[in-house]
Symmetry: C2
């Protein structure tokens, strides 16, 4: 009887160097594929069909003050405990397509191509999922940060979803398109965000529909005020039959840091105290209601449930279903 | 300012019934797709390429005595807490292909087609992943239960991986192919398992290689004794460069029940006490070493890390990477 010990496990590598196969110079019957599976995922929600369509993911090196009210050591330790690459977090980007039967709705658009090799993948993912961008009827924007709106345009400036009505939160549109607000914005992420919005929206002002909270913004999809991350940050309740899902946008960024520690104020939040209050409010409700949540920065496919844990919350990822 | 309350969230559905879109009789520009994404997932492991290739998943209604040493109420409560369908658990099936560069190795084979609509999907998944069954050089079997071995043959009895060497744990082969053991086996799952093995292996006895523990069974892949679930149940350490993964087979079944409660004796375990001891040994090691684990019955893609939690352990799923 062999015993499984650390030493024995680590012997695996040593064995590999000495045992018969090591001498083999044969090639496997098939070459390495070198290509990931297409990163989309489908689920039924009542009569609706949800398709999470990844725009990719990227490692974000953690600068000091990534979280305003917590030491950098605590943040680095939380990232390491979540098995993220040393000194970084990995943020995924999960736009969602909802086919209500009456309308094909895209929620948020990713970065668009050209930003880097691991993001801006939405067009590729849509193609893999068999969704033609020309067939999108409505694009809903949760809030006006670059990773949610830049994908509205192709690199040549043309519209990526040419037949879609574009709907943005009224409060965010007023805030981000204000030259006065831009002039007062701190350099870095905030100033850049004003620039991105000008790049996308300056010649679209007349074409954009501005939505209020508590309204049906597409069939079965209701906008919900979840402000703080941006002044107009919005979530969506998607409801069909007995199916119900809460698209939370950026109520938190990656869950291992910010769902676990809802009081942590990430540098991206416009109104940190308000964002904290929103998180508590949303997750108290979601955990009590056992509500299915879709998180834009949750690990793909981004679907799960929220449980109270310690002084914060924990994500219970929804199990992947190999069939729809 | 609107307030997010249970009432407001639930209004979503009510709004959908009264608001402008409800009157719309238009069709979405695209029909429902009705088809899940292909359920394979790739990762680099040193110079190796790992592809998890789902055979599907199925709901298993929970009979009394599903867990021998715990009340049915406790089991049902744990399943419900894990958001499983009422009165059931959902078990996924995750075979893995390892391309070592020298050999293309399949670990476990799923049910094979014909058992039901949501399992036996391995051939479809392999095709989606661009892997021709004829190119598999070695099939490694972790243990001889139906959901791991039935996929070795096509419905017509021919070999599903016709060019592969088939390697099975020596202890399991002796145990499951013994007519004496079969005659003594209790009716139900145990007796059926003897039958399945006869269906698959009776005309393959000369073609099957029987492996021992602590040996290199394919390049960089070492067999490890993790007995109890079956007498010969084996795991594999897959090692290349600094990459290391532990394919745990059925050291536990679904993690929400059995990783959380390693002392629970699932009805499928041949030697319950030994299976419990093996779980403790494996997960104490895995949690200390922060070892990447692949679980055959973990939610697809089945990769993650094990953390100590309370009197048991918790799975931290590895985040999906949209690129390889």
């Amino acid at each position: 009887m062999t015993e499984l010990t650390r030493r024995r496990i680590l012997q695996g590598a040593a064995l590999a160097a000495t045992a018969p196969f090591a001498a083999s110079r044969s090639q496997a019957a098939a070459p390495l594929a070198g290509k990931q599976a297409p990163s989309f995922y489908r689920a039924k929600l009542g009569d609706f069909e949800i398709t999470v369509v990844s725009d990719g993911a990227r490692a974000i090196p953690l600068p000091p003050q990534f979280v305003r009210n917590v030491s950098n050591e605590q943040v680095l330790a939380a990232a390491e405990a979540a098995y993220m690459p040393k000194g970084s977090i990995v943020a995924p980007f999960n736009p969602v397509v909802v086919n209500t039967g009456a309308k094909l709705v895209l929620i948020d658009t990713g970065y668009g191509p050209g930003i880097g090799p691991t993001v801006g993948l939405l067009p590729v993912t849509l193609a893999a999922a068999g969704i033609d961008p020309k067939t999108i009827d409505i694009v809903l924007i949760s809030h006006m940060h670059g990773d949610h709106v830049l994908g509205l345009k192709n690199p040549d400036g043309s519209l990526a979803f040419p037949n879609a009505e574009i709907k943005v939160p009224a409060v965010d549109f007023t805030y981000w398109m204000s030259d006065e607000n831009m002039s007062r914005a701190p350099e870095g992420f905030q100033k850049m965000s004003f620039g991105y919005n000008r790049k996308i929206f300056s010649n679209l002002t007349d074409k954009v529909t501005r939505y209020e909270w508590g309204k049906e913004v597409a069939p079965g999809i209701t906008s919900v005020e979840t402000a703080g991350h941006t002044p107009g940050h919005s979530s969506f309740v998607i409801a069909s039959g007995s199916g119900r899902m809460f698209f939370q946008g950026d109520v938190t960024n990656v869950p291992d840091l910010f769902l676990r520690n809802p009081d942590w104020q990430v540098m991206f939040d416009s109104e940190p105290e308000r964002a904290v209050a929103t998180r508590r409010r949303v997750y108290d409700m979601a955990s009590t209601e056992k509500l299915l949540i879709c998180g834009y920065h949750f690990p793909f496919p981004g679907l799960g449930y929220v449980e109270k844990a310690g002084t914060g919350y924990r994500l219970v990822p929804a199990a992947w279903s190999p069939v729809i």
